[in-house]
Structure formats: C-alpha cells, structure tokens
Point group: C2
C-alpha cells in the first residue's frame, strides 16, 4: 500500500463510476458530464493518480517513443542533433530514446530489433560508417513505422531524409579559397564509401575545374575517421610535396585543427602561406588560432527538422506521406584561417 500506484480502477471504485467513465473524464471526453469530469479530475489529483502509459500504449497499439540511432553520442555534431530532436519531441509530447551504433553494422542491426520490440512510434537515424546495405531498416516500412535519416542517409530505401547539400557546401568553401587567392588547393577527404564525403570531394573538384585550376590527385588525401591525428598526418604529407599546396580544404573541423597545428609547427603562416578551411563549425573552430573558416552545418536545426518531419509522419499515418527529403541551408563562415590580405582573385 505504500507505493501502490493509484489506477483508474481505484478512482472508479471511490466514485461509484465505471472505469470507462473515468477514462473518458480524464480525457475530457465531451460525452461525460461537466460536473463528473471535474470531480474525477479533482479526485485524481487528490489521490495522486498518474496515468500508466505502458497500459495505454498497449491498448492503443502505439507509443510516444522516438528511437534515435547515432554513431556516437559524444560527438559534437550528434549531440547537437539529439538536442534539437529532444527539444521538439518534448514540446510535442514524445519521448526520445537513444542508441549508439558505434559505427558498427552489427550493433545497428541489433538496435533495429530492439526498436521494433519496443514499438517505437518512429525512428531518426544516422547510418553507421560500416553500413552499406540498409535492409535491416526495411522492416519498418511494413510495420508502418516512419523513418527519418539524417546526415548519413541511405538511398536504397524508401525513407525521409534531412541532409545538407554537401556538394554545394564544399563547392562554396573551395571557391572561397580560390577567390582569396589560392591556386593549389588540397583536400583532406573522408571515407569515400560514405556519400557525404564523396559529395564533398565532388564539390571540391567542381570548384577547381570551374575556375580552370588543374586538378591534381596528389593533393587529395583520403582519411578514414577524419580525426585530429589524421588531419595532422595528411598535412605532414602535403607540406612535404615538391609543390606545396597554398590551401587545404578539410572534410571536417577535427582534421582542419590537426592541419593548422602541423602547419604552425612547421613555421608556415596561416593564411599567408597556406589557407585552411574545415567543415561543421564545431565550437573549437573559434578557439583555434587562427580561427577556422568552416561550414556551419546547423546540427541543432537538423535535429529539430528531423523530429518535426518524423512526428508529422507519425501523426498523419493514414495519409501516408511519401518520403520527403529536406536540405538544410548551410552557412560559410569566414574566419582568419582564410582571411588573406586583400588580394584580387588574380595576383
């Protein structure tokens, strides 16, 4: 009797009403008299009644739970996305449950099973690096559980996506480097089986070619995890090239930071000798000296958008929205790492 939960039945007994009446009253169903409704509410408060959503979920055959799969929670980008998701979910009465795939396909698959078992109402996911084939997500189509991918998305599956235009963003960064006088621009690229990194490379190439600069494969350095260390390693290689680059576009901010520090250690000046640009606008990009020019990928916005899309699909289930793809606007943020003394495009 101490912690014994108060249920709808208890209220019913106390008031000599049926449980259905209580249930309806608590939902302010108009078919229940105003008087009664008020009394039910007040008794509920008095007795400390709390609805049991597990029971409700079972009966209604749906939950208010949104499952989120991220590679890792402690990566800035993802924690910002999650924050955005939670923000919207909370406002709209949904709960958020989180899983880390650790970039492992096996774990991602296991997680999809858990989500199915838990009857989540919808899923937001960023694919694991290992994931090439998304068949483990296919089940959610037949279960009518809406699915929104963000950032690293799948094309072989009917599902909504929220992404940025990586090609365009990379193009703009590269063009910015060109416009500030760089003629020999290197690119530290991410794993090319992941489409976002492939697009960034493409955007880079396109800008180079558009401006009639030669495309030199030696200037493209393929990284795998885009860590600080990889950035440093690639940069050491680049500055030992016979013809040293005068600009480096890095596929993310971590590698850019690594690049900057290596360049400084080698007594080259940034941006005078080499300009550096990153991608993501992590907080650290304002701290590093010189401050890093980068692309703001608006992770928080991405999370909010994904959540909104998902919830709309959950609630309009019957309308059966065809999957939609939203492209989030990105911003080029110019800081000192590319801010050269005013030069004309041609020197």
């Amino acid at each position: 009797m101490p912690g014994a939960r108060v249920t709808i039945k208890d209220l019913a007994k106390r008031m000599n009403l049926s449980v259905s009446t209580i249930s309806r009253a608590l939902h302010n169903n108009p078919s229940i008299g105003e008087e009664t409704t008020k009394e039910v509410w007040s008794l509920a408060k008095q007795l400390g009644y709390f609805p049991n959503s597990v029971a409700s979920n079972l009966r209604r055959r749906k939950t208010n739970m949104i499952g989120v799969i991220v590679p890792r929670i402690d990566i800035t980008f993802h924690s910002h996305v999650i924050s955005g998701v939670e923000e919207i979910a909370y406002k709209l009465g949904y709960n958020v449950t989180i899983y880390q795939s650790k970039d492992s396909l096996e774990r991602e698959i296991a997680i999809t099973s858990i989500l199915q078992t838990n009857m989540v109402a919808g899923i937001i996911a960023c694919l694991a690096l290992e994931t090439q084939n998304c068949s483990h997500f296919a089940r959610f189509n037949s279960l009518k559980v809406p699915l929104v991918f963000y950032d690293r998305v799948s094309n072989d599956l009917e599902a909504s996506k929220v992404i940025i235009d990586d090609f365009d963003a990379a193009f703009r960064v590269t063009e910015h480097l060109i416009n500030t006088g760089c003629k020999r621009i290197a690119h530290i690229a991410g794993c090319q089986t992941t489409s976002i990194f492939a697009s960034r490379l493409e955007g880079y190439k396109a800008a180079i070619l558009k401006h009639n600069l030669p495309f030199d494969p030696n200037l493209v350095c393929c990284a795998t995890d885009l860590s600080y260390e990889e950035g440093a390693r690639c940069t050491r290689k680049l500055i030992r090239l016979p013809e040293i680059p005068d600009g480096i576009f890095c596929a993310n901010d971590y590698t850019a930071i690594g690049a900057i520090q290596v360049i400084k250690k080698n007594n080259l000046r940034i941006p005078d000798d080499i300009s550096v640009a990153g991608f993501s606008n992590y907080p650290v990009s304002t701290i590093i000296e010189p401050a890093l020019t980068t692309i703001d990928d608006r992770a928080f916005e991405m999370g909010k958008t994904a959540a909104r899309m998902l919830i709309r699909q959950i609630e309009d289930r019957d309308v059966n929205i065809a999957s939609e793809t939203v492209v989030i606007r990105t911003d080029l943020i110019v800081r000192d790492s590319t801010r050269r003394q005013p030069v004309k495009a041609e020197n």
Copy 2:
C-alpha cells in the same frame, strides 16, 4: 495482414500449443520440453516474431527504461556522461530515454511526472541550476524507483550519487599553481548556490591558506553560467587590478579559454606572466595555445558508474540497497598553460 505483427498467440495457434507454453519456450523455461522449445524458436524466427515489450512491461509491472535528466545534451560533459550511460545500459539490456531540463526547475518537475507515467525502472539525473529543493524527486522513493544523481546532486534526499571530489580537485590544481611559482592566484568561480562550485572555491581557499599565501577576496570572481564570455569578462577585470594575479584557476574550461584569449590579447605571456588552469578537460583544452592545464573529470566514467549503480539497485530491488555515494577519481592534467621554466617553489 501486411504489417500485422506476429504475436505469441499466432505461434500458439500454428503449433496447437497454448500461449503459456510458447511464452515459456521463448524464455527457455526448463519446464518445456527441449524438442518443443526448439520448434517454437524456429517457427518464431520463420514467422518473424518479435516480442512486444510493451505488453511484457505491463504484465511484469516494470520496464527496462532508464530515464536520464540532463541540463542540456549538447554540453560536452553531459554528452559524455550520457554516452557512458548508454554504453552500460545497452550491454545490460536497458534502454535510455533522455530529457533536457534546460536548467529549469519547472521543466525538471514536468519531466519527473513524465518519467513516472512512463514507469521507468530507474533515473539518472543532474539537477537543474535552478533546483534548490528536490521534493519532486521524493515520489520515486515511495514508488521504489531507484535514483542516482551525478555531478550536481541533492543532499536533502535519500538517493545515490556519483560525484567527483571537487574540493580535492580544486585543492590540487591550486597547489600545483603554487608549486610552479604562483603567489597571487585568482579564482573564477561558479554559481555558489551549486555545491560543486562552492566546493571548488573552498578547495582553492584551503590550498592558498595551507601554503600561507594571503587570501584576497578581490581575486575571486563569481560567474553565473561559466561561459567563455564570462571567463573573458572576469579576466579583463582581474588584469586591471592594481596588483595583477600571476595565476588563475577557472571553475571550468570554457572560462579558462576565455581567460587565455584575453590574456594573450593583452600581451601578457602564459604561463610566464599568468598561469591558467581550468576544470573538466574538454577536448578544446588540448587545442588552445598554450594547452590548458586542467582536471579530468572523467565524464564518461561517471556515466558508466551511474548506470552500473542504478542497474544494480533496480535488479536487487528487494535487498533495498541503502543509497550509496561514489566518488570518481579525477586527474590533474598538466599542460603548457602552467608549465613554467623550472623554478623552485621560492624564487
């Protein structure tokens, strides 16, 4: 029939067995024949059966859900804690659902109601800055829902805690500053109604006094949110003091970064003119130049520990573990921001 979930009943019908037999078989209950058990499993796989944990939770009157309340997900410290929680929870078969209090008491209260409604098995929480009184958590005592606080904890409530020894850590940092030659050490302190920040101030004081340095209240700068900007602001004030400090211990890394940048802008050298130390060991502390001496608060470890404690309590419910408090070891990480030319303690 397309997305129709396969249930235990379907299996029962197909095999001419009762649902209870199926249920037991799926739990490998020894009272079911080996033969039967095998067949049930194989049919389950064949039909794509997935257990419905909502139903199971209702019947068992408990869920596998751990509720986590953090001030904000996108703060490095908390995202690392969450990552640790998820890591352990996943391994042990629990799910993690996350809520941000945004440091608002009102929201924190609302979240506790949601958690109760959702029948979470246990709760891990870091109190909102606004929270002075924890009565809204009291209900979980009577509901027998275990509760583990981390970092910002409550003392007026029977609950487990996982914390670091803020006093000790602050003491060690300060002593380190003294040992490397600082004689006039300032402290940029956090909100003093929050016990962790009060303890850091105390630790600072204790070290000062132990080494017979004068304690000068003018050298203590109380901040509220410990942001980069506050760090910068306080530092500007400090370096305009008639007697400028030769060391600053900041209550977190953000403020320390702000301090460093202000000091550099004012053409003072770090650590030669002023040593700077922070608290938390955020990734940025290795990036800033000079690299920041700080305390590693081992957030990830904290999350893992909190999760382990919580789950143990959930599972040993009957044993009724008295609340326990675990203090996580912290490490002083010495970097260039305090690494002076070798000097004796006395110059």
